[in-house]
Structures are given as C-alpha cells and as structure tokens.
C-alpha cells in the first residue's frame, strides 16, 4: 500500500498529472466522508473535497515523504472544512437550515429512484439523526470525534492531522463523547 502511494507521488512530482487521478481514487471516498461529516451538506462536501485535492496537488512538493500521506491530506481537508464552518456561521444557506428538509440532502446520497423500503427508511432516519447530533458539536470536538469513531484513526494520527498534542485530542474526544451521550440520550 505505502509503496504504491510512494510510487504515485514520485510520478506526480515528475510531472505526470494522470498519476494524480490514481491518488485521488485511493483517497477521495475517505476525504469526502470526513468532510461531509463535518459539514453535513453534500454540495459543500464535494466543493471542499475538490479544493483539498487541488491544494494537495499544488503543494505536493511540501509533503514530507517520511510521514504518512493520508495524515497530510486529511489535515488539508479538515482545515478547509473548519474554515468553511467558521465562515458559515453568520450567513446560513437556506437549503441547509430549513426545518424538516434536512433529510432532502441525505436522500440525495442515494441515487435510487425507487421509493425506499421501510427498513431502509428507518436506517436513513437514524443516520440523519446521528448526523444532526454530530453537527451540534463545536467544530473542534466534531473533527476529533469523526476521525476517531468514523475513520477509526489512532489518537496520535488525529493529533498529527489536527496539529494538537495527544492529551488535547483525548480531552476533545471525552467532551465530544459526553456531549453526544447527552444529546443522543434525550
């Protein structure tokens, strides 16, 4: 795995643009997932994912090959997502916040034209509810919880991505977990 990534990055540095498509295919789902969980909106998630890859390409020379590529890439992506959340606060997008339409966005995840069977619908509601609760977390707790429980990354990796000491990552996970316990338990 790692040797594949190294080879691809070496090719990109040599100017082989097509190699970048290979790199994207390896990481796009994970980047998109992280960003979607942080922003809770498919359009913004796509936008930020594309921006993150574009920046990764433009800055590929600053990537230190001794470190894990995914850590570097996720750092760019989470920084962009956090920036986006901060900017979003004052002016809300209509489509994001009209009560009762939150699920519209979620449904568009599934390009299924047939009506959904009952159990799938239930599953979908559950997903929406959890996402809504994640969105209530302050961004700094949100990022730590997503990376830990949805991406299953180690505390050390999360610290590297968020540029925080491991002790701080722990505190954020504890607080985020506690906040979710309260809100999910209501």
């Amino acid at each position: 795995m790692d040797t594949v990534v190294k080879r691809i990055i070496a090719n990109i540095k040599k100017g082989d643009q097509e190699a970048f498509a290979e790199l994207m295919d390896l990481y796009k789902d994970q980047v998109y997932h992280i960003v979607y969980r942080m922003l809770g909106n498919v359009h913004e998630a796509q936008d930020v994912t594309q921006e993150a890859f574009l920046r990764a390409y433009m800055n590929i020379d600053t990537y230190d090959e001794k470190r894990k590529f995914s850590t570097w890439l996720f750092r760019i992506a989470t920084n962009l997502a956090i920036d986006r959340i901060r900017k979003k606060k004052p002016d809300f997008h209509l489509e994001d916040n009209v009560p009762g339409t939150a699920d519209l966005d979620y449904h568009s995840q599934f390009s299924n034209e047939d009506p959904l069977p009952e159990d799938q619908l239930l599953q979908l509601e559950m997903q929406e509810w959890v996402q809504a609760e994640i969105m209530k977390l302050p961004p700094k707790y949100r990022a730590a919880i997503i990376l830990k429980y949805l991406e299953d990354l180690s505390l050390k990796e999360i610290g590297d991505i968020l540029n925080l000491p491991v002790a701080t990552v722990k505190t954020r996970i504890h607080r985020g977990r506690e906040a979710l316990r309260k809100s999910l338990g209501e």
Partner: protein, 218 residues
C-alpha cells in the same frame, strides 16, 4: 451521571483502554456496585455504537474528473528551495560584510518588532499573533515582503514571497505560485541585505522588487 467527576474520568480512561489490569478491575467492581456509573458507562457505549453505526458512502463520481480539469497545465512550481544554492555568488560577498552591519543597525531600530508588509492586494494583519493573512478567495498578483511576521496564505499569491524574521505557515496549504524565501536568523538577514547590495552594485539581479526595497535601507 457518574457519581463523581473522578469516576467519570475513570470511565473515559476505561473506554479509551488506557487502564492497567488493576485499575480496570477496580473500575469494573465500582460499576457493579454503583448504579449511576453503570448507567453512565452503558450510555457511553451505546453512544459510540450509534455513532459508529452510521454508514460510509462514496464520493460523487465526478470528483476526480472535476479536479483533474482544474489542474494547471504546468506541474506545480518547486517550493522552499534554499536561496543560497541558487545564488552561489553570495559566498564571495564577505568583503561587503562590514558595510552591512552598519546599515543594518537602522534595521533593528525601535520599531524592529513591528510587522511591515509590502505588497498589493487584500490581506489583513493579525497583530496579536503576528500573522499576515491572505484570506481564502483572495488572490494577490505580485510579490510580497513581510518583516517580523508570519504569513498564512489561505487564498493565493501569484508572486514571490520574502519573509524576514517570520515564516510561511503551511497549515491551510494555500497557494503561492512563486518562490518563498525565509530570512530568519540575524546573520541570514545580513546575508540577504548583502545580496541586495551586490545586486544593486553589480546588477547581478534584474529583480525590480528587491531594487525598490533598497530605499528602506539606504
């Protein structure tokens, strides 16, 4: 809610699997006797299970193609080259050294810690943190020079960046298309001004921005 703050901390450590066998046993014993802590631990585990039950989904199909269409035709410029390597003539500049220590004295005058920015475009200065920020969505066309401050490019800089006593913060991975030159240590600062002096005297460089900088120092 756990019966005490102390027990709550222990529950978190237990969940993070950070306890040794003895601590673990003690907590388990406590939980079996304490209804509050038992409930708290159970809820916490359920919370994690619920969060983890959410499904992963794939990125939209057109993401790769959209990005590929936006890549510049030329491969990205190499960044962060060591300036001395590009200017080997510097190594012979010792003759001018003394001259520059004198002229630099004015450079370390009382306002030496003030952030000074040269460049045209939209940026703002976060004075409390000593950072010059080019906000996202902004593009600066031309060179920038910053003294006594760091640079955080969230937008784009289409030009070269010179940082005296500051650094380029990579956190947001904003784009700088030109060269980034960081001159941080005192001696590097001297070398840099020596370079400007040489380029002026010998016309070794056609870089006009550096020429205009001379007015500050002479």
């Amino acid at each position: 809610m756990a019966c005490s703050k102390n027990q709550l901390q222990k529950i978190h450590r237990y969940m993070d699997e950070e306890m040794n066998d003895e601590e673990q046993k003690m907590l388990e014993e406590h939980v079996s006797d304490c209804g509050d802590c038992a409930a708290h631990l159970k809820e916490m585990r359920q919370t994690v299970a619920i969060v983890q039950s959410t499904s992963h989904f794939k990125a939209p199909d057109d993401i790769t193609q959209n990005v590929m269409n936006q890549l510049p035709k030329q491969p990205p410029a190499k960044k962060g080259k060591v300036w001395l390597q590009k200017h080997p003539f510097m190594m012979t500049a010792a003759t001018f050294f003394l001259v520059f220590i004198i002229s630099l004295a004015s450079g370390f005058s009382p306002d030496a810690n003030q952030i000074a920015v040269q460049g045209e475009g939209q940026f703002y200065v976060d004075e409390s943190n000593g950072v010059v920020i080019v906000p996202e969505g902004e593009a600066i066309y031309g060179d920038i020079r910053i003294e006594n401050g760091d640079l955080n490019v969230e937008g784009e800089v289409h030009g070269d960046v010179t940082l005296v006593n500051g650094e380029h913060i990579q956190a947001s991975a904003g784009g700088v298309t030109g060269e980034i030159e960081e001159i941080n240590a005192f001696y590097e600062r001297i070398w840099h001004h020596t370079k400007i002096f040489i380029s002026d005297v010998f016309s070794l460089s056609s870089d006009t921005t550096e020429q205009t900088d001379l007015s500050i120092w002479f």
